[in-house]
Amino acid sequence: MNDLINDLYQEIILDHGREPRNFGECDPHNKSADGHNPLCGDNLKLTFFLNDQNIIEDIKFTGEGCAISLASASLMTEKLKGKKIEVAEEIFKDFTNLVSGTDEELKVLNEEDSLYALKGVGGFPMRVKCATMAWHAFNQALKD
């Protein structure tokens, strides 16, 4: 099997792609945004509850997409749950750098993180949008 494919589709990605965690809608939620990849039609809806200490108390998503976009959304929700917004924003920046294949030094993510499994996306430039769709929805929700 090709190394690039094995890097792209690590076991954890296939697992989260098949059985996304935190799939659904947060009740209650006070933040939400839609993610959409106009190139392929994949889409998702992200909802989360931000408490008065600026902590993401709960976060969920629904939608349809490829293994990469679903796994990325699923891993994102696992990572961000319980995080303060300032930390979440740092993770967002790190993740974007990680999958874009840039040489930017990562500040909060490291190889132990499950999100690191998405690094293989860098070998498929056309798939970067799949991996970042959920994260851009998250970023959008913070702005709204």
Partner: protein, 410 residues
Amino acid sequence: MGNSKTLSLNVRKDFPILSKKILEKKDLIYFDTAASAQKPNAVINETNDFYKNHYSNVSRGVHTLSVESTFRYEDARKKVQKFLNARSENEIIFTKSATEGINLVAQTFYEKFMQRGDEVILSLIEHHSNLIPWFFLRDKYGVVLKFANIQPSGEIDIDHFDSLFTNKTKIVSLTHLSNVFGTELNEKIISICKNRNVPILLDGCQSAAHLKIDVQKLGCDFFVFSGHKTYGPAGIGVLYGTENLLSEMPPYQGGGGMIGDVSLEGASYAELPAKYEAGTPPLVEAHGLGIAIDYMNNIGLDNIIDHENEITKYAFNKLNEIDFIEIHGGDNKRNSIISFNIKNVHSHEVSSFLDVEGIAIRAGHHCCQPLMKHLGVNSTARLSFGVYNSLEEVDKFLFELHKCKEFFSK
């Protein structure tokens, strides 16, 4: 089968990109001709030669280079006229793309022949480029759009189509060959339009180069196609329109080259076809398209069509035998295009998996989101063939497809 192998071996060498190795070692198998066709040496070399030896603006100066450029540009128009069997060169308008051709018709046809409340008939299988220009008319001018349903086979439901006509129907615009299903428009549809005296535009992006086009025999009023899908350069498109309609409709864009006489008080407009060609046109690209047409004619369009039909039929039958494959559309004839899904595997996964093996297929909504919604999928994988493909490539693809299914089932 033997014949087909010989043909593809003969023309593959004409396309330099086909000797490229993907990821440094995989032979390129290009199954994405419906998105854009690869270019033969003749087109690459001739466009180069144009810049090196003949280039200037067209229809402006009187010097030698201007004459040489103008000759090549107008010669391309003659080739397109013959390619489509149009009555006159005046019916061939060069645009930058097929999309621009549809926008041109939508805007100028509306201006001359339509008003608020008038109706346009489209269908569910249209490419976004044959939807959005008409959405503009709906949003800006209150034009009513009606959409013909499709049957499970992927063909337009003729009875439903017929039922959409009213005395307010002013124009019909449909794809000649579906870029998702690969199925050809039933000619009865055009007869219905003729009988009702309503002009019809055919989007020929997928049919030019894969079907023999005769606009007179077809009886369409407008026909658009793009250069880049017919082995020519990107940046050049063609709008065919009957001289009657093109004469009556107003100019699309204003600028140099489309005028008769200009004073500060106003202007008169040039005769056809210049009336619709404001600004310096994509002259080298037009020449390249002319060379691409020569290239196809040298091989013989019938030979190309036979070759593609053989490959398409072979691929369709093989895919149809595989239980984990779902082919979109019915069992009717495909022309160079097959859309499918591996059950429970997203088309992106299929495309990425094949890509590292050197196989280029398209994955996505194919600019047909309303159709995807109708099919109940959000994307499909699509094979599309050109003159350079072979049965061996299909076999290689099928082999990798089984490996792909296995990989994503583990």
